[in-house]
């Protein structure tokens, strides 16, 4: 078989007058044409994955309860407005029970679109800036026992306003300070561990209470006997001077040894 005769590009040039056929044997025998278009990957349009089910889950003025998802999105096409919040993936959800409202608030931001929840159907958003906010308590009250200190009635009960006799210059006179009351009622008060959150998130009694443990347990310490204070003072001083001398001599010795080692 004759080898395939491929011309080098040089031969196509008008310089064919030059007898360059002698170079032909040096050209590769097999030559493949490179692809001019990628056959795989992005270029051929990756197949669409499954739909992500984005978009509005609740329409305008639809009833929602706390936690209901109103809008799923990639990025923030919509922002959370009144009584709404935004999740980790920018999902808008309701924080209160109410009716969905899609709106723009040019005073806050001229470009953003907001989703809010109003308490009553027909209420409009955004509310005027100087109008008091509509707030919902969302709590239920139930009876509880008052603290131990509070249950003890102070010696003179003050009945708030209108009690002429007990008000002095605008201040309602109190039946003794807190500390005095504490003293008065200490005997009656049960031994309570007053636990609470202390700095550093420690749940324990306060240092003040810990310091009084011995007192409450009625631990008796022998009385301090004052004997010869002057003698004691002299002894202490003698000890101090002795210690200082010792220290000085030791340091001198150290310095001396260092110098020696240097030499």
């Amino acid at each position: 078989m004759r080898p395939l005769c491929l011309r080098s590009p040089r031969l196509t040039l008008p310089s064919h007058t030059c007898p360059s056929f002698q170079w032909l044997p040096l050209l590769p025998l097999h030559h493949s044409r490179p692809a001019s278009h990628a056959s795989q990957g992005r270029a051929n349009k990756a197949a669409q994955g499954p739909g992500k089910r984005l978009g509005a889950k609740k329409g305008a003025s639809e009833l929602v309860v706390p936690g209901n998802i109103i809008f799923r999105q990639r990025g923030t096409h919509w922002f959370p407005g009144e009584n709404c919040d935004m999740g980790r993936d920018h999902t808008i959800f309701a924080k209160e029970k109410g009716y969905v409202c899609f709106y723009k608030d040019p005073e806050t931001n001229p470009k953003r679109k907001y989703i809010g929840v109003v308490f009553e159907r027909g209420m409009k958003l955004p509310v005027p800036r100087n109008k008091p906010r509509n707030r919902r308590l969302g709590l239920v009250g139930r009876e509880r026992e008052m603290g131990t200190l509070a249950s003890i009635t102070p010696p003179r009960v003050t009945s708030g306003e209108g009690n002429e006799a007990l008000e002095v210059g605008g201040m309602t006179e109190q039946g003794g300070t807190l500390r005095q009351q504490d003293k008065r009622t200490r005997a009656k008060m049960p031994e309570l561990k007053q636990m609470g959150i202390r700095p550093g998130y420690q749940y324990r009694e306060s240092n003040r209470h810990i310091g009084r443990v011995a007192e409450r347990a009625q631990v008796k310490v022998g009385e301090f006997k004052k004997r010869g204070r002057f003698l004691a003072w002299r002894k202490v001083n003698a000890r101090r001077t002795k210690r200082a001398e010792k220290k000085a001599s030791r340091s001198r010795r150290k310095k001396g040894s260092k110098n020696k080692s240097k030499n």
Partner: protein, 448 residues
């Protein structure tokens, strides 16, 4: 070992400089005060002592806390910061006129010339105002136009007064030295008497427009910005008032404790009435009302929040020099509509915002007093449901300053509430179980 030298140095300085110490050069400029000449002289010395201070205690140089307290007991306030006082003690304290810097002295001469020009202008302006006051209104196009013209001229005159002094190095120095204010921290060692003295600290310089101007500028640099931030963060503005532009500095404290705007205050601390310090930066006496409002009172029936008035006083006199308003000192018959009710919060409820409003009573002039008896008897002025909006709307009142703090339930609340005689506090709030959406059952064919 010898004692380190730095520990004894201040004492040495004291001894060395005792002879050289000179008083700070008094401000030589004539002042534009609203008061009489006698008062001006009083201003030149830094404060007006009720009793002469001990000879060895100079308000410019005391720097140990013990000496400061001794001086305070005589009614004199140490001047400026402690650090400054200590440094004065060791400096030569050369007055500006004798500073040996040629450029500085030439610059001073330029400023002095400018000032003299401004003084001439002021005199001219005063003459003109006097002239136009005597011109009949009909020649000026009516009473309204005449008043407008005079107001504009007066405003320009005030501007000139400030321009005359604003570049004066002596004035700058005196202002930065604290204008007779002391910055002694309120320590537990201070006696009550001393505390009272600090509260009623002498701000004599606030009589002069330049110091008022400088104080206002300083307040607007940081403190007012902080307050405005808290007002917007805590929604004071739409919730309590439709609009608020503070022009007076209000500082608040309970006993020895100072309170920053928006701080949480323990219920036991706020059991006693607050003490207020209100600095206004425009001249003149005026009457103000003071209201403390809680806007977060839980209302279970309405499933919402109501409001309550914790304190209301009216017709309280206030001026740039008379700044201290301790609420417990106000007279019951003259001022107080609602006496102090300690702030409290229910257990489990969200925190309560307590706003202290200083409201200027703007009638025909800054002195229109309110009828206190009518206020006491009016059914709209009850504590519960009292709204600052309504109070301000109906009368010629203008909120000029505010401060706020917060309160939440703590261990002391039960005691505070019992002592104050508040009922219905044996309640605890818990979260309401959220309702579910009504479940709509689809038709049966779907489930087959």
């Amino acid at each position: 070992m010898a004692m380190p030298t730095y520990t004894i140095r201040p004492a040495l300085h004291c001894l060395r400089n005792a002879a050289r110490r000179r008083p700070i050069p008094p401000c030589s400029s004539p002042s534009f005060t609203t008061s009489t000449q006698r008062n001006v002289e009083a201003l030149e010395t830094t404060s007006t002592p009720p009793a002469p201070p001990p000879p060895n205690l100079d308000p410019n140089t005391v720097f140990t806390p013990r000496d400061e307290r001794r001086l305070l007991r005589t009614g004199v306030h140490p001047i400026g910061s402690r650090r400054r006082r200590a440094s004065i003690l060791s400096s030569d304290n050369v007055p500006f006129e004798q500073m040996p810097y040629q450029c500085f002295q030439e610059a001073r001469a330029v400023l002095a010339e400018d000032r003299s020009r401004k003084l001439l202008e002021i005199a001219e302006m005063r003459k003109r105002i006097a002239f136009w006051q005597n011109v009949p209104a009909s020649d000026l196009g009516g009473e309204y136009a005449k008043r407008g013209k005079l107001v504009r001229m007066q405003r320009y005159l005030e501007q000139l007064k400030i321009l005359a002094d604003v570049n004066d190095p002596v004035i700058k120095k005196r202002f930065e030295d604290g204008m007779g204010e002391s910055d002694i921290p309120l320590t537990p060692t201070l006696m009550l008497v001393e505390l009272m003295l600090i509260l009623g600290r002498d701000l004599g310089d606030m009589e002069r427009p330049i110091y008022r101007y400088l104080a206002d500028r300083k307040w607007r640099e940081y403190k007012r910005k902080l307050l405005m931030q808290r007002i917007s963060q805590m929604h004071i503005v739409p919730d309590m008032l439709p609009h608020l532009d503070p022009i007076a500095e209000v500082s608040l404290g309970f006993g020895r404790r100072n309170v920053q705007p928006g701080e949480f205050v323990d219920s036991r601390v706020s059991e006693i009435p607050a003490r207020l310090n209100v600095r206004v930066f425009d001249k003149g006496e005026r009457l103000v009302s003071i209201a403390v409002v809680d806007q977060d009172v839980p209302d279970e029936e309405r499933d919402s929040f109501g409001s309550r008035c914790h304190f209301l006083a009216v017709n309280v006199p206030l001026s740039p020099t008379n700044t201290s308003i301790p609420l417990f000192k106000l007279k019951k018959e003259e001022h107080i509509v609602h006496p102090w009710l300690p702030p409290y919060a229910e257990k489990g409820a969200p925190y309560h915002r307590l706003a202290v409003f200083v409201i200027q009573q703007d009638g025909a002039w800054k002195g229109a007093s309110l009828d206190i008896k009518a206020l006491r008897e009016s059914s709209r002025n009850k504590r519960d449901g009292w709204k600052i909006r309504r109070f301000v709307d109906k009368k010629p009142l203008k909120p000029i300053g505010m401060h706020l703090f917060r309160s939440k339930w703590d261990e002391g609340t039960d005691g505070v509430v019992t002592r104050a005689g508040v009922e219905g506090m044996n309640i605890e709030f818990t979260r309401k179980k959220p309702e579910k959406l009504p479940y709509k059952k689809k038709d049966g064919a779907r489930y087959r």
